[in-house]
Symmetry: D2
Subunit: 369 residues, 4 copies
C-alpha cells in the first residue's frame, strides 16, 4: 500500500532528526494558526494545506511561502509523503478525516473536541492503537505557560489536597450554529482539569444546568458540577451572553490556593498561602464538629511565566511524542475523557440537571497513544 510504505519510509527519517512533515487539514478559523506554528517550528516541515475550498487553502498557504494545497486527503496522500496530519475541520468531520489519515499510517493531531461523540472518538483511539500511531488532542490551553506551571505546582504538592476547582469562562460570544455553550467553551476548562490533576478527569457523574433565554434552540448559559476525589468539587461556568469577559480558575487546596486569571497578563497566576487550618480531630460527626478552626493569612506569590505561545509548545510536544513513541501529554485518551464528560453533561441537561453517569475509558487498548 502506497500510504503504508510511505509511512515506513518516513519512519526512517524520523530517526535522523530531520523535521517531520505535516499537512494541516482545514483552512477555516483554527487551521491558519496551526499552519503558522508548524511553519515556525524547527521540528516540522509544513508540507501542505488541505481544504475542499482550494481558494481558502491558497489564502493560508500563500503568505507561508507557497505551501502546496490539496482539496482532499486522497489527493494529498497520492501526491506527497508526510508523517502527520493536523485536523482543524468542523467537529462532526473529525472522525472520518482522522480514520482516513490513521489508515494511511499518519500520526494525527485533532482540534478539540476529539469527535462529535464518544462512540466515534473510541474508534479513532482504537485505530491509532492498531496502527501504532500517535493520536493527540489539540488541548491548546494545556500548553500555556500558566497551565504548565499549575501542573508542576500540583505535582510538587504545593497546593496540598485539592478542595475545590471553580472555573469561569464567560464572554460575549457568538451563538454557535451546531453546538451549545458547553461543547463550545467547557472543553477548555475540562482539558485543563484533566491535565493538572494527577488522576486526570474521571468523575463518576456530572450535573449540568443551562438556559436558552434567547430561544436559540441551545443552551447559551451553563453550569457544570461534578465531584473530585476526596469529597472535593468542581464547577464550570460558561456563558455566551456576558458583556464582561472573565477567564478565571480558582483551585483551592489544603496548603495553598491558586488563582489563574488569564486576563491579567503581568500576573496570571497568584498562589495564596492562606486558608483554613483545620485539625481533623476524629472520625465521628461529633468529633468533626468539635474540631478547632483557625485562619492562616500568609503571603501571596506570583511566579514569573515564560512568554511562550501555547501552540508552539503544543506542536513541539506532537513531534516529541512521535519521535519518542510515547503518548502525548494530551493524548487521544485525554480527548476521550473530555468527551465522556461532555456527553454526560448533554444527557444531564436534557434531564433538567439530573446527575448523569460519565462513561469511562474502559476499553483497554494495547499500546494506545
Amino acid at each position: 500500500m502506497v500510504s503504508n510504505s510511505g509511512s515506513l519510509h518516513r519512519q526512517t527519517l524520523v530517526n535522523t532528526g530531520e523535521p517531520l512533515r505535516v499537512a494541516v487539514i482545514g483552512a477555516g478559523y483554527w487551521g491558519p494558526n496551526l499552519a503558522r506554528n508548524f511553519k515556525a517550528s524547527p521540528d516540522w516541515e509544513l508540507s501542505a494545506i488541505v481544504d475542499q475550498d482550494l481558494a481558502r487553502a491558497l489564502k493560508v498557504a500563500g503568505p507561508l511561502g507557497d505551501v502546496p494545497v490539496f482539496e482532499s486527503l486522497t489527493a494529498l496522500f497520492g501526491a506527497i509523503e508526510i508523517d502527520a496530519v493536523a485536523i482543524a475541520t468542523p467537529a462532526r468531520t473529525h472522525h472520518l478525516v482522522a480514520l482516513q489519515a490513521l489508515e494511511a499510517g499518519k500520526h494525527v493531531l485533532v482540534e478539540k473536541p476529539l469527535a462529535a461523540s464518544r462512540e466515534l472518538g473510541l474508534q479513532m483511539v482504537q485505530a491509532a492503537a492498531d496502527g501504532g500511531l500517535i493520536l493527540m488532542a489539540d488541548h491548546t490551553y494545556c500548553y500555556t505557560p500558566a497551565a504548565l506551571k499549575i501542573r508542576e505546582l500540583i505535582e510538587a504538592d504545593e497546593l496540598g489536597e485539592i478542595l475545590f476547582i471553580d472555573s469561569v469562562r464567560i464572554n460575549l460570544g457568538l451563538v454557535q450554529p451546531d453546538v451549545d455553550v458547553f461543547w463550545d467553551l467547557a472543553p477548555h476548562d475540562l482539558s485543563v482539569i484533566d491535565f493538572i490533576l494527577p488522576g486526570g478527569l474521571a468523575p463518576e457523574s456530572v450535573a449540568a444546568h443551562g438556559a436558552d433565554p434567547l430561544g436559540t434552540g441551545k443552551a447559551c448559559v451553563g453550569h457544570l458540577t461534578f465531584a473530585l476525589p476526596n469529597n472535593a468539587m468542581a464547577h464550570i461556568n460558561v456563558n455566551w451572553l456576558s458583556p464582561t469577559k472573565i477567564r478565571q480558575m480558582i483551585i483551592g487546596g489544603t496548603k495553598r490556593t491558586l488563582v489563574w486569571d488569564d486576563l491579567v497578563p503581568q500576573q496570571r497566576i497568584s498562589v495564596y498561602d492562606r486558608g483554613i487550618n483545620f485539625e481533623k480531630a476524629g472520625t465521628s460527626a461529633a468529633q468533626r464538629k468539635a474540631q478547632a478552626i483557625s485562619y492562616r493569612l500568609g503571603d501571596t506569590w506570583s511566579p514569573a511565566l515564560p512568554e511562550k505561545e501555547a501552540l508552539g509548545l503544543m506542536v513541539a510536544e506532537f513531534a516529541e511524542s512521535i519521535r519518542q513513541g510515547r503518548p502525548s501529554r494530551t493524548s487521544g485518551l485525554a480527548g476521550m475523557r473530555v468527551l465522556n464528560v461532555l456527553e454526560a453533561a448533554s444527557r444531564s441537561l436534557a434531564l433538567g440537571g439530573e446527575k448523569s453517569f460519565v462513561a469511562s475509558n474502559d476499553v483497554q487498548l494495547e499500546g494506545t497513544r
Copy 2:
C-alpha cells in the same frame, strides 16, 4: 392586657410624629450594629437592649448613652413601653422571640434568616397578620445604594428582559457551627434577587450542589441554580474556602447587562450597553436557528451612588412601614420566599443535587405585612 394597652397607647404616639421606641434583642455580633443605627435615627428612640447575658447587654448599651438593659422580653415588657423589637438572636430562637413580641403587640424586625424553618416562619407571618403588626426581614443588602439603584433600573426597564443572574459570594469565612454555607451566605443573594425582580423570588424548584472537603459535617462550597421567568436562569456560588474575596452579581438583560462588584467602592455598578442582537424570526426550531445574530458594543455607564449606610436606610423603612401601615419593602413574606428556597436547597443537597420543589407562600393571610 398590659402589652396591648401599651401598644394602643403607643399607637397614638405613632401618629404624632414622635420617634418610635424600639428594643434590640440580642447583643452578640449583629445587635450592636442595629442598636447603633436605631440610636442615630431621628425616627427611633432606642429604648432598651435585651440579652440573657446582662454584661454583654451593658457593653453595648454603655457607649450609646446608658440605654436600659433587660435580660428577657418578659422583663422588658413589664418595665417599659415600646413599639417594636429588633431581633438579632441566633436563628433557631427567632421564632419564639418574635411570637412573644407579636403577641405583646409589638412590631418586629428579624435578622436573616427569618426563622430556622419554613414552618416556624409561617407561624410568625400569621401572628403578625392576626395582630395587624409589621413583620419585617432585615435583608440589609437590599438597602444598599447599589441594590436600590438596581431595583430602580429594572423597574424602569433599563435592562430589558432578564436573561441570567449570576451571583458570586466567596471569601475565607469561618465555618459556622450550626449552618452550612448556603444558609450562611446565600440569603444575601436570594434576598437581593427577591428585591430587584418585579415578580420577586419564586422559582418552582432549585438544585443545590455542595461539597464538604474538610469533613466538617456541612457544605463549605455551594452552587445553587434555579430557573427565572422567560427561560432565564439564576446561579449563586457561595464558598467559605476561597482566599480571594469576590462579591459580584451579573444581571444579563436583553437591552443591557449590569455588573455589581461590591468590592470596587468607586464604581460598584457598571451598566454595559452591550449584548447580542437577536431577531426572533419565528417560533419553529428551524426559524430560531436561522435567525441573524449580531453584537452590539455600546458605552459603559457607572451611576453615582449616594454614600449611605444600608442599615440606616433599613431602620428608616421599618419606621415608615409602621407609620404608613403598609408592608415593608422586605416584608415577612419576602423573608419566607428566601426561606422557601433555602429549605428546598437543603433537600436538593441531601439528594445529591436533584431538583427540589420550592414551597410557595400560598397561605393567604389577610392584611399580611
Copy 3:
C-alpha cells in the same frame, strides 16, 4: 528632471482615485508595521521596501507578496514611480532621507521624532512647503480610537476648561543606545497633548528633571512639567526602570475629568462627572479665599471605542491629506512642536531642571503642510 516629471505624472493619478504608491524606507523595528498597513490599505499600493541591508528588506518584502526592494533612495527613484515615502530609519538620518525625497517631489511621512534637532526639522518643513508637498509626522498614538475620542470630547467642550494633564508612561524598557528616556517615550505624550488641545502644544517653557541611577550616560527616569493655558499645568512621567507598566493620562477639566488607561482594553476611557464646584466670587485674594467650594459626585461614563488599528487610520489620513492638498492632522509643524519641547527639555535637564524656553514655530512658511 525625472523625479519631478514622475511626481507630476503621479499627481494626475492622484486625482483618478487610484491607489497612491508608497515606498517604506527602513526595514528595522517600525518599518515592517508601516509596510503591513500600507499593504492592507485600499488607499495605497506598497511599491517598495528600501534598506541598506537588502537581506533585511527582503525579509519584510517577502511575506507581503514579494514587494520590490532597493538599497537606496537613489536606486528607488531611478527604478520606479512613486508618490510618497514613509521614513522609518534611525532618527538622526530622518533629515537627509526626507530632504532627498522632498527634492524628488515625493510626499513624506516620518516616524517620530521628526528630526534629530529643531534646526534640521525646520529645513524639512521648509522644503515641503517649497515643493507644495505633504510632510506628515507619524504620531501613531494620535490615531488610536482613544485619542480620537478625547479630541472629539474636548472639541465639544465636554470637559470644560482644562485644569491639568498628567501623563504616566512607565515600563521596563530597554535603555536606548542613542536617546534618553525623554526622547524615547515623551514624544508619545507630547504628540497626543498637541493633538487633543485646541491650541496645540505651545508652552513658553518647560522644566525637566531626570536621573541616571545606573550610570548609563543618559536619563532613564524623567519628569517634564510645563504650563498650559489658563494657569493649568501638564506633567509627563517617563521611566525605563519600572517593572509595573502604567500608561495613563488624566485630563482634569472644570466640567468633567477624563482618564485614559491604555492597558484596560475593555474600558480605556472613563469620563468622570465629578469635580469641585467653585464659584469665582471675585478677583481679590480675600474674595477668592472666601468663595464657597463643594463637591460634585456624578456618574462615570465609558464610551465604546471602535476596534481599529491606529496605524491603519494613520496611513488613511496620509492619503487623504495628499489627495485633498491639506496639512495632515499630524503635520510637519505638529512634529516641530514636539521637537521644540524635547529640545527645551534637554536644555532644562542639562541645567538641573531650570526652566527652559521653548522655541516656537515662528518661521512663517507659505503653504506649509
Copy 4:
C-alpha cells in the same frame, strides 16, 4: 513649680509600668482619632480632652467614658497630673501649645506638620532637648503595616540600591483654607520616605512645580522632585482635583522593585523580582555606553501584612520611647526634616520651579529626642 514636680512625680510612675497619662489637645478632625486610640491602649490612660470650645471637647469625651474636659492648657495643668500631651490643633498653633507643654515638663506628640515653619519647629526641638523630654511627630503613615514592612525590606537590602521613588497621592480633596496641596498632602509621602530610607530624608535641594487653575490663591496640583543618594531621584505628585483616587508609591531598586498600592487592601505591597541587569563595565562614558543590558523577569511576591491600625502602633511607640528614654521612630527631628523640605518646596514654587536648597538639621542638640 507644680507642673515640674508633677512631671517628677509621674516619672516615678513611668517606671512602675502603670499606664502613662495623656491629654489630647484639640477636638477637631484628628483629635477624636487620637483620643480613641489612647483610650484603647493598655499603655495609656486618657486623662483629658482640651479644646477652647468646651462643647466640642465634651462631644469627644462623652462616648469615651466621660473623660474630663478643659478649655486651656493652663486649666488642664492646674487641675490634673499628666505625663504627655498629644497636639491636634491647627498647624499654626502647634508651636505655642507644644512649648507650653514642654515647659510644663510634658512629653509631646504633634500632628503633622510639626510646626508652621522651620524656625518655630527648631524651637520646639530645642525645648524638648533642654527638658529631657520626648518630642514625637505624628507621622501616622509610617506606622501602617505596609510602611513598617517596606522599612524592614530596605533594611534587609531586599531591594538593593534605590534607583527611584515615585509617589502619587491624588484625590478629589477639599481645597484647604490655609495651606496649599504640598503642605496638605506631601507630608505623608515625605515622612514615609524619611522613615524607610536608611539615611532619612535629606536632599540638598528640591524643585516644586504647581498650578492653581481655579484661582484659589494656592497650588491645587503639585509635583515635587529631588535627588536621592547615588544619583537616584524622588518624585511626589499631589493633587486635589483628581476624581480618581490614587495612592501609590513605587520604589525601584537594583535588586527588586516594590509597589505600595494603598487602595488594594488584600495586596497592598507587591515586590517585583524584575529589573534591568546592568553590568558596570567601567567608568568612562564609552565603557558605560558599551555595557551589556538584559532584562530579568522573576516572580512577584506580596507579603502578608498584619491587620493593625497605624494609630494604635503609633501611640504604643510614643509610650515606649518615653519609657525607654530614647527618640521615637518619628522624632521631632524627623518632623523637622519634613518641614525643611516643605519650606524649600514653597520657596521653589514661588520662584517658578527653581531648585531651592533644603536647610539641614544642623543645630546640634544634646540629648535631642
